[in-house]
């Protein structure tokens, strides 16, 4: 180690130099403060022994300057001084000295102090090096996140998040909080929105966004309903994410053809439909995505009737968990209060004339953010906040569909196809996507595939369950029986060793589109139609949603112009109308 001795007395310098060299130190020396600074810069000693009283520049000043130059490097300075008054000694430390010793000093004590400071110096240098490494690492990670963000931006944004009816508050780094928002227009008219929140933070939390957006955009563009999209997302995430990582998500479909909103909510805490004079909560009824296996997953959607300009409000837990200076959380109650405040304003303004009504300035989206800011009194907190307000502007959404509809224009033509599946292929083939695909190739996306899919699925299930497998749907009435029904279905399907299901679809062009004639026939004994009708009755709840058992025949009746069964109940013929006008 190199030590710098600063003393104006030549004898003192010589004695110290000889003494320190004995211990193997390299020694350099200076006659005054000014020279000390110069030698410090040219020789880079690791420790300095400093006299106080010197000509040209004293030890205090030199110490102050050297400490300034050394910056973050630790260079221990021990004062050796003849001064003994407390004020002078405390001044040594004040200017940046690390220790002091009064002359005449004990050599053993001096050596001990040098050793001690050498240890401190080593410790400091280690910590300093680690700090430096950490800074480099952070900088690297920052750059990496920046690159990742750009990549993700281009992957996540082919949708219509910038549409005029969507107001969004999303921090640029939201992805690394795990928050994801996707929106896309359906080719058949309507809008899909996904609001998601992955577990955890950082890059790991964002990785799931890749398969997520892929499935969401691809399937929406193909005209699938969110029912199938949510199934597929769950399946993909379950397959690709490790246990313990999942996606809380709310999928919303604004169906402009039927003026209904369909939603599937798994653990998004704040999801509401604002209907002007009332607020409906879009309750979380499912586990988050990526947890349940396909056989336990529920794709059940809730359905609510909507009117023009109703608003969907979605938020992840960032708002609800935002804290004020007292450590209180913003919470669900305050959030709901925000929504009802706006309702009141709208109510009172609706009594005024139309022109005044248009001027009503309170915007729900701004109002929520302003209330949050007022609560936290801290703008920065909104960095963790992801909030979306989507206006169900039905006409505008339909415009979006036509604008974005780069789909080939198909005209309605005459065609027919027939399929016959025998018992063994029924076990492994789901005919519904197959038929959808064929329809897509022939007639493009004009045919509303979600309704048609429902019709086809129900028809196929009826043929299979009641025709080939001879299951009795009355067992489905109780929850226990419901499970029993599906257990029976599985075992009977496994044992099935004969029979077939025949299906035929043909199109007759009409003025606005076409009539599909759909025939399903099975080799079973048939069943009592009137009985089935009663048991699978469509149950409309008061709030307009359809209950879990509300599937089956009445649903087919609802979507088809006509449904005719033959007497024995093993052949059904339906007419499904579709239109090229949206």
């Amino acid at each position: 180690m190199k030590i710098l001795i600063v003393d104006d007395d030549r004898t003192n310098r010589l004695i110290l130099t000889t003494y320190l060299k004995k211990y193997g130190y390299m020694v350099v020396s200076a006659e005054n403060g000014q020279e000390a600074i110069e030698i410090y810069q040219s020789e880079s000693p690791k420790l300095i022994l400093m006299d106080v009283m010197m000509p040209v520049m004293d030890g205090y000043e030199a110490t102050r300057k050297i400490k300034e130059i050394s910056g973050e490097e630790f260079i221990p300075i021990i004062f050796l001084t003849a001064l003994t008054d407390e004020k002078a000694l405390s001044q040594c430390v004040k200017v940046g000295g690390d220790d002091f010793l009064t002359k005449p000093y004990n050599r053993i004590i001096l050596k001990a102090k040098i050793d001690a400071l050498e240890r401190v110096s080593q410790l400091y240098n280690t910590v300093y090096a680690q700090k430096h490494e950490l800074e480099l690492h952070q900088e690297y990670e920052g750059k990496e996140q920046e690159v990742a963000r750009k990549v993700f931006d281009s992957i996540l944004n082919p949708g219509c998040l910038s549409a005029e009816n969507i107001q969004l508050h999303l921090s640029p780094m939201s992805l690394f909080n795990g928050d994801v928002v996707l929106a896309a227009v359906k080719p058949t008219g309507g809008l899909h929105i996904l609001f998601g929140d992955f577990t955890g933070h950082g890059l790991a939390a964002s990785l799931g966004a890749l398969p997520l957006s892929d499935v969401f955009y691809t399937m929406t563009a193909k005209g699938y309903s969110i029912k199938y999209i949510v199934q597929e997302i769950n399946h993909k995430l379950k397959l690709q994410l490790p246990t313990g990582m999942f996606l809380a998500a709310c999928l919303v479909e604004i169906d402009t053809n039927n003026n209904v909103l369909k939603y599937w909510n798994g653990a998004i805490p704040a999801a509401y439909l604002h209907k002007g004079d009332s607020v409906v909560e879009l309750k979380s009824q499912h586990l988050p995505l990526g947890i349940l296996s396909v056989d336990r997953f529920s794709d059940h959607l809730e359905i609510i009737e909507i009117h023009d300009k109703d608003k969907v409000i979605l938020s992840t837990d960032g708002i609800l968990e935002a804290e004020n200076s007292d450590g209180n959380m913003f919470g669900k109650n305050r959030f709901v209060e925000c929504l009802s405040f706006d309702t009141n304003v709208q109510k009172s303004s609706s009594n005024k004339s139309d022109s005044e009504n248009e001027e009503a300035p309170v915007d729900l989206f701004e109002h929520i953010l302003e209330t949050l800011d007022a609560f936290t009194m801290n703008q920065e907190q909104t960095d963790d906040v992801t909030l979306g307000v989507i206006s169900c502007d039905l006409e505008y959404i339909n415009q979006l569909s036509t604008q974005r509809g780069n789909y080939k224009k198909f005209s309605s033509t005459h065609w027919q196809f027939d399929l016959r599946f025998f018992y063994d292929s029924i076990k492994s083939i789901d005919p519904v996507p197959l038929i959808n695909q064929v329809l897509g190739e022939i007639q493009g996306h004009h045919i509303q595939q979600d309704h048609l899919s429902t019709v086809l699925t129900e028809l196929f299930c009826n043929s299979l369950d009641h025709g080939l497998l001879e299951l009795d749907s009355s067992t489905k009435a109780t929850p226990k029986g419901f499970m029993q029904f599906y257990t029976d279905k599985e075992s009977r399907l496994k044992e099935l060793d004969s029979g077939f299901i025949y299906m035929s679809v043909s199109n007759t062009p009409t003025e606005s589109g076409g009539d599909l004639n759909i025939v399903f026939e099975d080799s079973g004994k048939g069943f009592d139609i009137s009985k089935l009708d009663q048991q699978d009755g469509l149950q409309l709840k008061n709030d307009g949603s359809i209950s879990f058992s509300g599937r089956g025949l009445p649903l087919i009746n609802n979507y088809c112009k006509s449904v005719t069964y033959n007497e024995s109940g093993n052949r059904v013929e339906c007419i499904y109308s579709w239109s090229t006008l949206i």
Binding site: G178, G200, F246, G266, A267, S284, I291
Partner: protein, 100 residues
Amino acid sequence: MSITSMVDGNKINIIISGRFDFSNHKEFCDAYRNTPSGGSNEFIIDFSTTEYVDSSALGMLLLLREHAGSDKADITLKGCRNDVKDILMLSNFDKLFKIP
């Protein structure tokens, strides 16, 4: 925040005090890791002194569930305070765990 575990035959009690989030990941895993995996154990997680759970905590519960035999797992989350229960119910965890 602290996690204590007690093993009594095939019953494993885990008490979680304070905040339950990603910082407890190692501690929580340590609490059950040495118990036999599969559906032979009964787990009781005591949440009566838990102040807060975040989504990583939910993830950890899923890891425990996998360790304890997935669909065969017998795990009770007992004594949840209202706000903790709200988070568990919002995520519909009552479909995977017993939440009395």
